[in-house]
């Protein structure tokens, strides 16, 4: 309960800091929002209409008052409630994030464990070079490279029709598909974005898993498990991975917000109408209410993820106290 209260105080601090950061920045939102042909009088009228001419403290009080009633205000640019804008964008980013996070963990933990188990073969340094390189690659560049392969490369190397993956958008622009065909269409569109996000994440997880599992594999009880005749699969599955799990679950929880935020680039390249695109558009058009709402959502996600990690740890590892 105390931790929950602390989480709310933290969230309040975040929105207050963000509010100050956004409102104290130089530049005039109204001047950016009006069309270039508008007169200064038009801008002044808009400023009054959006209550941008009130003192910052008054604007802050008004925004906080709305927030407590669950009202995030109205988007300057789109003239509709911020909650409507965000509730369209959030499921897309969250779906993208969860799908790639799942893939990230399956692939990352597998690679890391293989590396730790085969530390004396060439496979280990080889995989280290691969994971570290992918870890070092910017996600938007990976995205562009994949697009190059599946568009430019697909024609040059003559890919079969099934492998010509769509590179942009969420669904077929013609939009005639329904039922199963629509699901297949969505999955085909999701393959490239999910792969990019998962690749970057999996590289990091693999690096972490490798060092954790390698540490554990040297423990005395692992040697005992080997000595009593257990097969490699039983030793790694039952003894090593079970002990590597708690830090990995923490990592999973801590990764979710990063993955959702990381989708800024992926959404930008693949033209997905998610949170990342929403906040980038809102920032560049000085749509303050949407910026505030999106930041609030991101911060809530981070704080929730941290809370979940704290609460899950004692369940997975009884030696640790809550």
């Amino acid at each position: 309960m105390r931790r929950l209260a602390a989480a709310f105080v933290l969230l309040w601090l975040v929105v207050t800091l963000t509010f100050l950061l956004v409102r104290l920045a130089p530049g005039d939102a109204a001047a950016i929002l009006v069309p270039p042909t508008a007169t200064p009088a038009d801008a002044a009228r808009l400023r009054a209409e959006l209550a941008l001419d009130a003192p910052v403290a008054v604007q802050y009080a008004k925004w906080m008052g709305g927030l407590l009633r669950g009202d995030l205000g109205e988007s300057f640019a789109q003239r509709r409630p911020v909650t409507a804008v965000l509730s369209e964008a959030l499921p897309i980013s969250l779906g993208l994030g969860l799908a790639s996070l799942t893939l990230t963990f399956v692939v990352g933990v597998t690679i890391g464990t293989i590396q730790a188990a085969r530390r004396r073969s060439v496979l280990d340094p080889l995989l280290t070079v691969v994971t570290t390189s992918v870890y070092a690659a910017p996600s938007y560049w990976l995205a562009l490279s994949l697009i190059a392969v599946f568009t430019y490369g697909a024609t040059v190397w003559g890919f079969p029709q099934a492998l010509r993956l769509p590179a942009f958008g969420l669904r077929d622009p013609a939009g005639t598909a329904s039922g199963w065909a629509a699901v297949v269409d969505l999955v085909r569109h999701a393959i490239l974005p999910v792969t990019v996000l998962a690749a970057v994440g999996a590289a990091g997880i693999a690096r972490y898993t490798r060092s954790t599992v390698a540490d554990l594999a040297g423990a005395e009880w692992v040697r005992t498990a080997h000595a009593k005749g257990l097969g490699a699969r039983a030793v790694y599955g039952r003894h090593v991975l079970a002990n590597a799990l708690p830090p990995l679950v923490v990592l999973l929880a801590l990764s979710l917000p990063g993955v959702v935020a990381g989708s800024v680039f992926v959404e930008s390249v693949f033209a997905w109408p998610g949170m990342g695109r929403a906040i980038v558009l809102a920032i560049s058009s000085r749509d303050y209410p949407v910026v505030m709402g999106a930041t609030l959502l991101y911060a809530a996600l981070v704080i929730l993820a941290n809370l979940a990690a704290d609460l899950a740890l004692p369940l997975l590892d009884p030696r640790r106290e809550a």
Binding site: T132, P138, W141, R207, V259, V264, S268, A294
Partner: protein
């Protein structure tokens, strides 16, 4: 691991030599736009209409990509190193003062750092960068403003440990002022983890700078940076993919070398924490 560290040090050194020497020795001005029709979009390893050879090809204005890439490397490397260093310095100062003064100062500093850590760094970076005028100065300020929290926590923890050491009481007993004790005796002994974090932060800072530039919020063209070069090749990705691919490879090699170097430094000092990985978006 040591061979890897040597390898990455050599790689970084040759990269620095490359970004310093190549644009200086290249006959052509990497920003100049000449006979566009004869020289544009030459593929890697080919010769343009004027008979000049281009190792990595040319962009849509006929500018040599290899020379431009090396020129961009100057900006990206300098911004990455300076940005991480600046964040490390701010973090060290905040963490040291917070731990040393304690009380309200400490609680405010840690509350602000907790709040900033609750916003994904990329989003915080976008918030700061987009609202001020884009450019090298803004990128540096923003990297420092969004990167100091981790170092501050590390230094705070170290200072709390070091202040209990007998040599600190000895210095105080000798009559040294509080400020002198903190900066001359405590902080130098609390810097280890901060140095590792700052080294590992260089690669991250380079990635973040390139990301901002890719979105058009960082280094502005015609000044090349790896990020805005990739952005420049974005709509050519179907017809001339090398324009975007080449600067990305330079970026990967650089960040790879920085990460490996930081890794081997860290291996000597401490274990990896989950947050390091989670923060890399």
């Amino acid at each position: 691991m040591n061979r890897l560290a040597t390898f990455s040090a050599v790689l970084l050194a040759s990269l620095i030599a490359g970004v310093v020497l190549v644009p200086a020795l290249a006959g052509t001005d990497p920003l100049a736009i000449g006979d566009v029709l004869a020289t544009r979009l030459v593929p890697p390893g080919a010769t343009d209409g004027l008979g000049r050879f281009h190792l990595l090809g040319t962009d849509r204005f006929g500018r040599d990509l290899f020379v431009r890439m090396m020129l961009a490397g100057r900006v990206s490397l300098a911004v990455g190193v300076a940005g991480s260093l600046l964040a490390g310095m701010v973090g060290t100062a905040v963490g040291a003062v917070a731990a040393w003064r304690g009380g309200v100062v400490d609680r405010i500093a840690m509350a602000v750092s907790d709040a900033l850590l609750s916003i994904p760094r990329l989003i915080l970076l976008l918030l700061c960068a987009a609202l001020w005028h884009p450019g090298v100065g803004t990128v540096l300020a923003v990297l420092a403003a969004t990167g100091w929290m981790g170092v501050a926590r590390l230094v705070r923890g170290e200072v709390l440990g070091v202040r209990a050491q007998p040599y600190v009481s000895a210095a105080q007993a000798l009559g040294a002022s509080s400020r002198r004790v903190l900066w001359r005796h405590v902080v130098p002994n609390a810097l280890g983890p901060a140095i590792v974090a700052t080294t590992l932060g260089v690669g991250n800072a380079i990635l973040l700078e390139s990301g901002l530039s890719f979105l058009g919020l960082g280094i502005q063209p015609p000044k090349p940076s790896w990020g805005n070069m990739i952005a420049g090749g974005r709509d050519l990705i179907v017809t001339a993919p090398w324009v975007a691919i080449a600067p990305g490879l330079a970026l990967i090699v650089t960040v790879l070398a920085c990460t490996l170097l930081g890794d081997s430094l860290r291996d000597r000092l401490a274990g990896e924490r989950p947050r390091d990985i989670a923060e890399r978006a």
